[in-house]
């Protein structure tokens, strides 16, 4: 409480205090509202996790975790729930997609942020952003109409002929609905995503660094290689990891071209059955067979945990990168 030695100022003081009080109230209220709003997503995540865990509980109790994760036979009507073909399918498709997508995206981001003239940038950047906005079912359709026949008629026979000794390129699946088709569609889908992140990361390097480097006679590539790249490497890795988790969770486009066969694949031309496709395809049948719904929700839980792991990795990579930059 402030002293009020003079009567004249009394009314002014009360007025000021009133204003102050109302501002503080607004401040408290705003901070409460924002806190509540930002807690909501976190609570939502916990709720989703809890629901999945509760619904998956029956099968986790009846079958050992090892039995579920390493079992390779999927016959729900006979009570056999092996997730290994699906985990393997997801990994094959995602990793192959990233092998295609990561180098292309990062090189493209380097070009856009370091080499491209403003007009080129203004032309290419929006086009790439549009790619990111195309619905995944459209990509799937494009995959069925273009990629699958191409893989069936050109890629598979050619690679099989050139490398008959490589099991990676040899398959008994002659249809083109394959891991390669899924990975190609997926790669095209995540490329704009990774480009967007990498591009923003590269632009955080201050202009002055470029200018200093170019001023001492370094070429553009040397500038990129020795000045820009070390500062953004962590950010680029984070972008790729986020892209990986995006690819891992993609459902519709992959499901339409990947062949959906619950076997453990050995070649990029084999059919695979990713976790997401398992849920999307069979969610309909889950009421009719005992434990089926529980098994599907367990696979959803698995998917969530794997994607969570990717995101934690991305966060760690980013943190290390920023820490190094500050040091």
């Amino acid at each position: 409480m402030a002293k009020a030695p003079e009567k004249v100022d009394e009314s002014y003081n009360t007025e000021a205090r009133k204003i102050l009080a109302s501002r503080q109230r607004a401040e408290r209220q705003a901070s409460f509202e924002f806190r509540a709003l930002s807690t909501f997503p976190a609570v939502l995540f916990v709720v989703v996790l809890a629901v999945l865990l509760v619904r998956a509980w029956p099968i986790l109790q009846q079958k050992s975790l090892i039995n579920l994760l390493l079992g390779d036979v999927w016959r729900p009507s006979e009570g056999q729930f092996g997730f290994l073909p699906f985990i393997a399918g997801s990994l094959w498709v995602t990793i192959l997609a990233m092998v295609f997508a990561a180098p292309v995206s990062i090189l493209c981001a380097i070009f856009l942020s370091e080499y491209a003239r403003p007009t080129t940038k203004a032309l290419i950047k929006p086009l790439i952003d549009i790619l990111a906005a195309i619905p995944s079912v459209v990509y799937g359709l494009w995959g069925v109409l273009v990629i699958v026949p191409w893989v069936q008629q050109s890629v598979a026979p050619t690679l099989g002929r050139w490398f008959p000794f490589l099991p990676l390129f040899n398959s008994s699946n002659p249809t083109g609905y394959s891991i390669l088709s899924g990975a190609l569609v997926l790669a095209v889908m995540v490329v704009p995503f990774i480009i967007a992140i990498s591009y923003e990361v590269m632009r955080t390097v201050p202009r002055g660094y470029h200018e200093a480097s170019l001023a001492v006679g370094a070429t553009r590539w040397q500038t990129v290689r020795y000045v820009v790249f070390p500062r953004v490497a962590g950010g680029l890795i984070a972008g790729v990891v986020l892209g990986t988790s995006r690819a891992f969770g993609e459902t519709m486009a992959v499901l339409m071209v990947v062949g959906n066969n619950p076997i453990i694949p050995h070649s990029i031309f084999d059919a695979a059955y990713p976790l997401t496709a398992l849920i999307a395809n069979n969610y309909g049948e889950m009421m009719s067979i005992p434990l089926y719904d529980s098994a599907l929700l367990a696979s959803a839980l698995l998917l969530l945990l794997i994607v969570l792991m990717f995101n934690v990795l991305a966060a760690l990579a980013l943190r290390r990168a920023t820490a190094r930059e500050q040091a």
Binding site: V148, T175, G259, N260
Partner: protein, 315 residues
């Protein structure tokens, strides 16, 4: 202080908007949502068209996604009516699934019209045993084995449905009393997806519901596809009553019982517990006035006995 009030009013308005958005059922309109089997989808669209024209206060919302989805959605209360193109499992009945048969159709084997052995296949037909060899045991892998000609070594490219559906259930049941999960082949999503894959692949084989295999406007198989005739009496050739070149031949074969059942089967509308109100009225209309659209849409009409039985299920 004034600002505070503004805020309260704003929040109140937003809340009321939110609540009215949720409570739209209070509008005097009967909304019926339907989802499920691809097999029933085209006919349901026709029924809904006519019914909505006759009853302007009814709004029918239809989506296709396979029999399994129809069943799950109906049991979960996500839709009012599920379209189901297979038998209803006892587990599902236990959870409240209430099925009413409304029409009939069948699943047919399909191949590409550009299959190099098209003529031979259409004249010899396939037996149940050979189809089982392709889809269940995997013993038959070449077209030569089907045609009894060892010099033909072209592989058969087998396609099946990836989504849980009645067509696959019926196909597996016909081939050996099995389940969808035991069918071999590359899984493609949805009825039109399998057809597309078969049309594009000269060595492909698949299976489709009646109204996806045949084009309703021409009465012939969809352009680029051919329907495999079943050699039911296994005499090594397709007899006159086994030909399945047009929609009419297929419908006759099914309704006369010459085409086996399964893969011919009843199509059901499933509700959670016995239907009431607008939903019940709609199903009752389907079983009476609605039946006139069954044959024109390329489906097989129920017998009068079956209709009476279905109507009794509504009472």
């Amino acid at each position: 202080m004034k600002k505070q009030w503004k805020k309260v009013v704003l929040v109140a308005v937003m809340l009321s908007l939110l609540l009215t958005a949720c409570g739209s059922q209070s509008v005097p309109q009967n909304k019926i949502s339907v989802s499920g089997a691809f097999a029933l989808y085209p006919l349901m669209v026709r029924w809904a068209e006519v019914y909505q024209a006759e009853n302007p206060d009814v709004l029918i919302d239809i989506s296709a996604g396979g029999a399994g989805k129809g069943m799950s959605d109906a049991l979960a209360g996500a839709v009012d009516i599920g379209m189901v193109s297979r038998e209803i499992a006892s587990e599902e009945v236990a959870q409240g699934a209430y099925g009413v048969a409304v029409t009939k159709d069948a699943v047919f084997g399909t191949i590409s019209a550009s299959n190099p052995y098209l003529e031979k296949i259409l004249s010899q037909g396939l037996t149940q045993e050979k189809l089982a060899g392709i889809y269940l045991t995997g013993e038959i892998t070449t077209w030569g084995q089907i045609l009894g000609d060892a010099s033909i070594t072209d592989e058969i490219h087998v396609y099946t449905r990836s989504d849980a559906c009645g067509a696959a259930e019926m196909w597996a049941k016909y081939l050996g009393g099995k389940k969808q999960e035991e069918l071999k082949g590359i899984g493609v999503n949805a009825d039109p997806g399998v057809l597309e894959a078969v049309i594009k692949d000269p060595l492909g084989i698949g299976y489709n519901n009646l109204n996806y295999a045949f084009d309703i406007t021409t009465g012939k198989p969809v352009a680029g596809a051919a329907v495999i005739p079943l050699d039911v009496n296994e005499n090594g050739q397709v007899d006159a009553d086994e030909i399945l070149q047009t929609n009419t031949q297929a419908v006759n074969a099914v309704s006369s019982g010459r085409y086996p059942s399964p893969p011919a089967r009843l199509l059901y509308l499933v509700t959670r517990d016995q239907p009431t109100g607008a939903v019940s009225d709609f199903i009752a209309w389907i079983l009476t006035d609605g039946q006139q659209y069954v044959t024109e849409s390329g489906y097989i009409a129920l017998t009068p006995d079956q209709i009476t039985e279905s109507l009794n299920r509504l009472k």
